[in-house]
């Protein structure tokens, strides 16, 4: 039997994801790092159906002239680039890197020139964000006209502070970057979503970091996240392209499950078949 196009996004069209002045039809944002080859990266990006990909700013390699540039493998007409400040451990460095990223994207005429994924880390072992430096950098970048997509921990109070500082969206980590542990504290994420959206339901919240597999993506959406940002879970999967496709489907499934509205959890069972009219006797408890 053929059913035509049964993709969830075709059957149940969703609203676009709106972040500041940007509008994306895909709610999955993927990174471009850690791929074994740039060909594999390009094919994985395509399989993820993402429209927005993160990139990092680094010194030009002056002694590897044969090295291909990442941008040779990214269709700039298809993808909005989201430059990050990864590797920064203080606000001054983060602002500096954000401005350099903007300068590159301006010359590429990519719409991503006016936004940045702000990431200010506390230490290199946990890669957890430094909350004070993150807030300081967020304030400076907002003043400088950036739309700041702000990576943070899953602390709801910090998330509120970053929103108050003008972040275009707050991006709590599910678990440490690259750890693949999924969403370790769904309660904190639920509170964060409630706090950020209570008087502003369309304010975007993106789960960023920690995703290990497709079910983590589905859980993030089921909790109410507007989007998920991930990198390592695809790039280091045994078959990255197939995992990218799985992440795409998990995005559709999780988001649809959220919109459909899940049943509440109950301690005891609730029969699916009628309780009345049974021809059998019932054991304890009556």
């Amino acid at each position: 039997m053929t059913c035509g196009n049964t993709q969830l996004d075709a059957l149940f069209p969703d609203e676009p994801l709106r972040i500041g002045s940007h509008s994306l039809s895909s709610r999955l944002i993927v990174g471009t790092g850690k791929y074994e080859t740039l060909d594999l990266m390009r094919d994985s990006l395509a399989a993820s159906h993402s429209e927005c990909v993160t990139v990092a700013v680094r010194r030009e390699r002056l002694y590897d002239r044969d090295g291909k540039n990442l941008l040779d493998y990214i269709d700039l007409a298809r993808y909005t680039l989201l430059p990050n400040t990864a590797g920064c451990y203080n606000a001054v460095d983060a602002v500096r890197v954000a401005k350099l990223g903007r300068e590159i994207l301006k010359s590429l005429e990519n719409p991503g020139a006016n936004w940045v994924k702000l990431e200010v880390l506390g230490d290199s072992k946990t890669l957890l964000p430094d909350p004070l430096a993150t807030l300081e950098a967020c304030q400076k970048l907002v003043q400088d006209g950036f739309q700041v997509l702000c990576y943070t921990s899953d602390d709801p109070i910090m998330a509120v502070r970053l929103k108050e500082a003008g972040a275009a969206c707050v991006m709590p980590a599910g678990s440490p970057i690259g750890s693949g542990q999924g969403i370790l504290n769904p309660n904190n994420l639920t509170i964060t979503l409630e706090y950020l959206k209570s008087d502003d339901p369309t304010y975007p919240v993106i789960v960023d970091a920690g995703v290990g597999t497709a079910s983590d993506v589905a859980v993030a959406f089921e909790l109410g996240a507007d989007a998920v940002l991930l990198n390592t879970a695809i790039a280091h999967a045994r078959d990255p392209v197939r995992m990218a496709a799985a992440m795409y489907h998990a995005t559709l499934a999780g988001r649809s499950a959220f919109l459909a509205g899940r049943i509440p959890k109950r301690l005891y069972a609730q029969a699916s078949s009628p309780e009345e009219g049974t021809i059998t006797s019932r054991p304890f408890p009556q």
Binding site: V55, A56, R58, L100, E103, I104, I177
Partner: protein
């Protein structure tokens, strides 16, 4: 690049490393000599971003620190 006269050499910091160049080198000339495509990079001279249209005009001085960055894969 052909140069009409013999120039004095100066030392700059180029992406954290010392480099000797002619004293009238512009940023554009430095990028070309290093094989760096200007389209994909941003340039910071002594911590100030240099707009692309100034690459051809901005001459480097002894002791200048220049950073040339590009985009790489990242999450």
């Amino acid at each position: 690049m052909q140069r009409s006269k013999k120039s004095r050499m100066i030392t700059i910091q180029f992406n954290g490393q010392s480099k000797q160049i002619d004293d009238d080198y512009t940023i554009d000339e430095l990028l070309i000599s290093a094989g760096v495509p200007a389209k994909f990079c941003a340039v910071e001279l002594n911590l100030e971003i240099v707009p692309k249209h100034e690459y051809r005009l901005q001459k480097l001085k002894n002791g200048d620190a220049i950073e040339v960055v590009t985009l790489v894969g990242g999450g």
